[in-house]
């Protein structure tokens, strides 16, 4: 294996036998060269950072930009690069980013998300009722994992849940690593136009929802353009359902493969145990599994390595969350550990805006699903499941379960 040391390894790296383990080549990078160059889809060779401390440091560093339009930015895929000019605030630096993000921060406050808990519980109960009344086996993705966050984000934003097939399809094209440039641009534009049109219609007939508020306060007053409101809504729809749906399905599969851990969750009445289980599963699974991306605006020295201005940076959140310095015995799923300092939601000014919502959704799921269906089991061996290796967000295409 001496050749591997001198060759620039391709990134993302392929997973090995266990779908919950890091790719072996990524583990090799972590141990042999935690900051090193990798080759991505377009042949460019950005820096790959794998250590918890280094990843956190770059995420907190204003010299590392998220501007996907800058030449040399290490975009995730061909499709992603093609739509790099269609930027939401997650692809903008401050002060532009802060100005837009701040319009939404009150909507995702911890207490507002807590206030949604009873409604989220109601949806979870209803979906489980329907599953129990239906045939077995059932695809948990279709019957539960995808509908829950889709309904929640639809209600919060004020978009008709009846349009779900459309926004699911557009979102899938936006997070696909194999979508063409045309497909990715078309999906982003269609979703933007859909939200913009809806926002316009809400000016005359506002509801008690986020999009109505943006329509009245930002669009109607001319503070934001149609395109900006559309872009913001596009981001909220995508981030609001895609990642949570994948996290629900993937963590259910992981727990079914770790029955001792599942038993701790099922048998606990303590909200703290449920909350810590959510943090540990977020850490262990880190579904943003092909690195989040930055570009250096200036020379940055990190752990003795110089990253030059204009060079791309790939931050392996999944590797950082498996570093033993930060998480002892990192490859063990232990729902009782303190994992709250994980970087599954990122870190720094771009940390996930919707994380308080995701946490409440996952907590309600873990509290309810395994109690209502205590004999829940995989209907297919885990080796035969279809994992989302070709997506930016890791997860499962289907999760056939029975009870």
């Amino acid at each position: 294996m001496t050749e591997a040391v001198t060759d620039t390894p391709a990134f993302p790296m392929a997973r090995g036998g266990c779908p919950f383990d890091l790719p072996p080549a990524l583990v090799d990078r972590m141990h042999s060269e935690p900051i090193s160059r990798v080759k991505i889809w377009d042949g460019s060779t950005p820096w790959l950072l794998t250590r918890y401390g280094d990843v956190r440091a770059i995420l907190a560093d204003p010299r590392a930009s998220v501007n996907t339009e800058m030449p040399g930015f290490p975009n995730l895929s061909r499709g992603n690069a093609a739509r790099a000019h269609i930027r939401a605030f997650i692809n903008m630096d401050d002060p532009e980013h802060a100005a837009q993000r701040r319009l939404l921060t009150s909507d995702f406050m911890v207490k507002k998300m807590e206030a949604m808990r009873p409604r989220i519980q109601e949806i979870v109960n209803q979906l489980i009722d329907e599953m129990l009344a239906g045939p077995r086996p059932v695809d948990l993705v279709e019957a539960f994992a995808l509908p829950l966050p889709s309904m929640v984000i639809s209600e919060l934003l004020g978009i008709p849940y009846a349009d779900r097939d459309f926004f699911h399809k557009m979102s899938r094209l936006m997070v696909s690593r194999t979508a063409t440039g045309t497909e990715a641009i078309d999906a982003a534009e269609q979703l933007t136009a859909y939200v913009a049109e809806l926002a316009e219609s809400k000016i005359a007939a506002p509801g008690d929802d986020l999009l109505s508020r943006l329509a009245l306060e930002q669009l109607h007053t001319g503070r934001m353009t149609r395109d900006q409101v559309g872009g913001m809504g596009r981001l909220l729809i995508l981030a609001g359902h895609e990642s949570t749906a994948n996290m629900i399905a993937l963590s259910t599969a992981a727990l079914l493969e770790h029955p001792d851990q599942l038993a701790i969750i099922r048998e606990s009445d303590d909200p703290k145990v449920i909350a810590s289980s959510v943090e540990e599963l977020l850490r262990y699974l880190t579904i943003l599994h092909i690195g989040i991306r930055r570009i250096a605006l200036e020379d940055i020295e990190i752990a003795g390595q110089l990253i030059r201005r204009g060079e791309g940076i790939v931050l392996a959140l999944d590797a950082a969350n498996r570093q033993d310095m930060a998480f002892p015995d990192p490859n063990t799923l232990d729902v009782t550990r303190d994992a709250r300092h994980h970087v599954a939601f990122g870190h720094g000014i771009h940390v996930c805006l919707g994380q308080p919502l995701a946490r409440v959704e996952l907590q309600v799921v873990y509290r309810t699903l395994f109690r209502r269906i205590p004999t829940l089991t995989l209907a297919k061996p885990v080796e035969q499941l279809n994992f989302k290796n070709d997506m930016f967000v890791y997860g499962l295409y289907e999760l056939p379960v029975t009870w």
Binding site: S106, F108, Q355, R359
Partner: protein, 65 residues
């Protein structure tokens, strides 16, 4: 223990509220953190240290004698 909160750095992630709800809150208009208690009792110290450690904006500092 003395807790210092820099609201100009805060990104409204609410992590501190989850870690130490007796010490931090979020203001209604924009979710920016507010300090409820600047000198928390000893039984809250560990929670406050955790809040400072996990704050994504590094907006919380803790001074310990």
């Amino acid at each position: 223990m003395k807790v210092l909160l820099d609201q100009t750095k805060c990104v409204s992630s609410g992590q501190c509220v989850l870690a130490a709800p007796a010490v931090f809150d979020q203001r209604d208009e924009d979710g920016i953190a507010v300090l409820l208690v600047a000198n928390p009792d000893a039984e809250l110290h560990e929670e406050v240290r955790e809040a400072a450690r996990i704050c994504p904006a590094l907006a919380i500092a803790v001074q310990e004698p």
